[in-house]
């Protein structure tokens, strides 16, 4: 991975004055890089969960008693909070994945132009940034729905 210079992020002086809102703007290596990291971490986590899930759910073949014993291990407060974390990862990976697929096919991207100063990145425009923020909103929404169904037994 190439070490590139600070991209089109907020200048240090201006962001320092933004107070709490600064957190939303502070992305030393670019907002897209944060999304990249999140997508990979959630992807690896979900794959690990998937393998464990497939292997453990096979218990259903061993009859009702074995299944009840399995539920006693999984259906605990720790297990439920773990599922909320799982839903957050699913929500983000899903919504961010939609953003990446749209970008891959050129949808939502700006038309290519001659690179003149101040070099706007047409591949990470307002539409793409909005979709990225939306990915975090979707993750939060998944957690909320999970809370309603798992904890409040909706």
């Amino acid at each position: 991975m190439s070490k590139r210079k600070r991209g089109s992020t907020e200048p240090e002086m201006r962001s320092a004055r933004k107070g709490v809102r600064r957190w939303l703007y502070y992305h030393p290596q670019g907002l897209g890089r944060t999304a990249f990291l999140f997508h990979r971490v959630t992807g690896l986590g979900l794959t690990a969960y998937f393998v464990v899930h497939v292997l453990s759910v096979g218990t259903i073949l061993s009859g009702e008693d074995a299944w009840e014993m399995f539920l006693e291990i999984v259906e605990t407060p720790v297990g439920w909070y773990g599922e909320l974390l799982l839903l957050a990862a699913i929500g983000f990976h899903f919504a961010n994945g939609v953003r990446l697929i749209l970008g891959e096919f050129g949808l939502t991207l700006d038309k290519p132009t001659r690179p003149d100063y101040p070099f706007k990145t047409g591949s990470f425009n307002l539409a793409q940034k909005s979709l990225l923020v939306l990915a975090f909103v979707v993750a939060a929404l998944f957690v909320l729905l999970g809370y309603l169904f798992i904890f409040l037994e909706l």
Partner: protein, 109 residues
């Protein structure tokens, strides 16, 4: 390209999977985990197919994603071969085990 295709398929089948554990024909989340409820879904061809489809598509998508990360992590002919064969082996094992669950519960559950 298959990575995107499986990604879209997972959204479709995954939505069904989440629905069957919250509101789709079940007594809430806890009810959906009861033995008879789970076995009942495995016996229904449509849900059994959904689970098998999820198994195959997630196995491909997840392991291919892991492969991308590992191949970026380090380069070399031997490394490539090792990563590819290891992940193919893991994929075959997971899909085989999952198919055993789906078929076993569908046929004899």
């Amino acid at each position: 390209m298959l990575h995107y295709a499986t990604g879209v398929l997972i959204v479709v089948f995954g939505a069904v999977h989440l629905a069957t554990h919250s509101f789709l024909g079940v007594e809430g989340y806890a009810g959906s985990l009861q033995y008879l409820s789970v076995i009942g879904r495995y016996r229904t061809a449509l849900f059994a197919f959904t689970l098998e489809a999820l198994l195959v598509t997630i196995a491909y998508h997840g392991l291919n994603g892991t492969r991308m990360i590992l191949l970026e992590f380090r380069q070399g002919e031997r490394w490539n071969m090792a990563v590819n064969w290891l992940l193919v082996a893991v994929g075959i094992l997971v899909v085989a085990y999952g198919t055993r669950t789906v078929l076993g519960a569908y046929l004899w559950g």
